[in-house]
Amino acid sequence: MDIPRERLLWIYERMALIRAFEDRVAQLFAAGKLPGFVHLYAGEEAIAVGVCAHLTDRDFITSTHRGHGHCIAKGVDVKAMMAELYGKATGVCKGKGGSMHIADVDKGMLGANGIVGGGPPIACGAGLTAKTLGTDHVAVCFFGDGAAEQGTTHEAMNLAAIWKLPVVFVCENNLYAESTPWTYHCAAPDIASRAAAYDMPGVLVDGTDVFAVYEAAGEAIARARRSEGPTLLECRAFRYYGHFQGDAATYRTAEEEASYRQRDPIQRFRQTVLSQGLLSEDELDAIDASVKRAIDEAVEFAETSPYPPPEECLTDVYVSYPAEQLAFRH
């Protein structure tokens, strides 16, 4: 496996952008600037970025409630994302989706999903489109260890297997489904080996090592593009924040959290590329600075953007529908 320099820079930039975005969102949320609630992806950057590095805008992904990282890795504009989290008219979903449904179909991002296990069947559909139209596009289904126990996930894996769909199932096992340890909720707590039940390769990957994810995902995606069928990757990583921002995460110990930080995906990446002289400290620092600027600008953009007018509530329900039947009756 070789990774061209430009792609190494891209990988670092995307991981840094996700981290900076999530850390800022955490602050903004704590400061009461964001309505609703947010689920943060910090700590899991290597998975989204290592996978999406192999995708184009014509490939599709389905995501989870923890979807900001997938959006950024798929190239969704961070200004429009931040505005969406604020509920502003300039949001990528015009303020109608929010954090939990953030999406950009033009970028192949089929949405964060408020329903755990909502995405896997949809990913099969995206794969079915590619197969039916004879393209070499693929669909990647990100799902968590919690969703691994949903029937939809199993149905989707089976469907993808019998139809040999170009779908890669990426289980982000961050060890807890909300507050419940995966060792409790999973009878075979090796999600990767469930692939055997669906006659597809199942691989356990270190989800804190972007090189490991990049390599395994590259193989799985190439396999899907060759019409050889689906793959299940289980990537283990840690989420630095709680299930949602504000969750005190009392179900984890301080030592446990400290041990996560020792395997920080961004630091590991830095260490590798610096020790090998692939990228320079100056280059990485410059990316850090530009990422910080991008986030500052995104916040500025979001804060100065207008809220949508109330009537906006009544649009985008359908492509065509009598307007008077969408409105209040009185």
Binding site: F60, T62, G91, V92, C93, K94, G95, K96, G97, H101, A103, D104, V105, D106, L110, G111, N113, G114, I115, G118, P120, P121, I122, A123, C124, G125, A126, G127, L128, T129, A130, T132, L133, A139, G151, T152, E155, A156, N158, L159, I162, W163, T315, D316, V317, Y318, V319, S320, Y321, P322, Q325, L326, R329
Partner: protein
């Protein structure tokens, strides 16, 4: 232009709509349990086995192949969700939910995903999918294979709901539903499959959201849905003998609702009975009554009467099932109360 018509059954009309749309548009695919049947069984791989449990999709696989007529595992959440995903990414899937009663196992994919994606994505997505599903009692199929339940779907923003009563409407509405860019629930009453009627050759559209006056009348408006249109028509014929001239409005589409046709009929007759095989609470029938009271209050000379199924599941035993289904007698009795 003279368009040739023939007599087709409701089943044949639906089959023809699917066939024409699949010929016209290569992105239209069918998927569902046994829509072809016998997948991978060598001697019927070409022509399929069942063509749907009641043969509605029969022989489509011979023309379009297994790539476009997809037998699915019995995984409704999986394949209905796949239809959603396929629709968002460029196909026009027609998924078959064998019986509407099975919505319980896949509702999330229908109403949380399919129905809401466009809205949640700020209008960036289109979900041009159709879910064909069988409704209705009369088959002795009891509690889990006999409901109507379209009211549940008509209630949900993001979905359209269509329930044809005749072969002509079934074909035209299904073509319209397939070409529509929104997710459409298409309710086929299993007791109507053998009903026949004139159906033009070639493609034509019955627009979604347009009701149809199936019988002109002046004394009372009977609004009916799906199989109940036929019950209403029978009642109207018998009422005519008594000198009561009933107008029968076939709603055809439940969402959006053709309020204008309903209200203008009411303005003409000033009396209304709604006949609906669905359960009565929060139903389309109740919604029509609310419409009459809200926007047609000044037209009303009498209370609006609802003739619906009772608030029970569908029973098995034949006399119980017959009791459950609204009959012409009950419609006549309701009309007599207000005329």
């Amino acid at each position: 232009m003279v368009v040739a018509t023939r007599v087709l059954s409701y089943r044949q009309a639906i089959n023809e709509a699917l066939r024409l749309e699949m010929r016209r548009d290569p992105t239209v695919i069918l998927m569902g349990e046994d829509v072809a049947g016998g997948a991978t069984v060598e001697h019927i791989e070409q022509e399929g086995a069942w063509g749907g449990p009641l043969g509605v999709t029969k022989s489509l696989v011979s023309e379009f192949g297994r790539q476009r007529v997809l037998d699915t595992p019995i995984s409704e959440a999986g394949f209905i969700g796949a239809a959603v995903g396929a629709a968002v990414t460029g196909l026009r899937p027609v998924a078959e939910l064998m019986f509407v009663d099975f919505f319980g196992v896949c509702m999330d994919q229908i109403f949380n995903q399919g129905a809401k994606l466009r809205y949640m994505f700020g209008g960036k997505a289109k979900v041009p999918m159709v879910i064909r599903t069988m409704i209705g009692a009369g088959f002795g199929a009891a509690g889990q294979h006999s409901g109507c339940h379209y009211s549940v779907f008509a209630h949900m923003p993001g979905l359209k709901a269509v329930a044809p009563a005749t072969p002509y409407d079934a074909k035209g509405l299904l073509i319209a539903a397939i070409r529509d860019d929104d997710p459409v629930m298409f309710f086929e009453h299993k007791m109507l499959y053998d009903v026949t009627g004139e159906v033009p050759e070639g493609d034509y559209i019955v627009p979604l959201g347009k009701a149809d006056i199936k019988r002109q009348g002046s004394d009372v408006t009977i609004v009916a849905i799906s199989r109940m249109v036929h019950v209403a028509l029978q009642a109207a014929e018998r009422l005519a003998v008594e000198g009561i001239d009933a107008e029968v409005v076939d709603l055809r589409t439940l969402s959006p609702l053709d309020e204008d046709t309903v209200l203008s009929s009411l303005a003409k007759t000033r009396r209304m009975v709604v006949v609906d095989e669905d359960n009565p609470r929060c139903s389309v029938a109740a919604d029509i009554a609310a419409l009459a009271v809200d926007k047609g209050f000044d037209y009303l000379d009498a209370p609006v009467k609802l003739v619906t199924a009772p608030h029970t599941p569908v029973p098995f035993s034949p006399p119980l099932e017959q009791f459950y289904i609204p009959s012409p007698e009950r419609v006549i009795a309701a009309v007599r109360e207000i005329v």
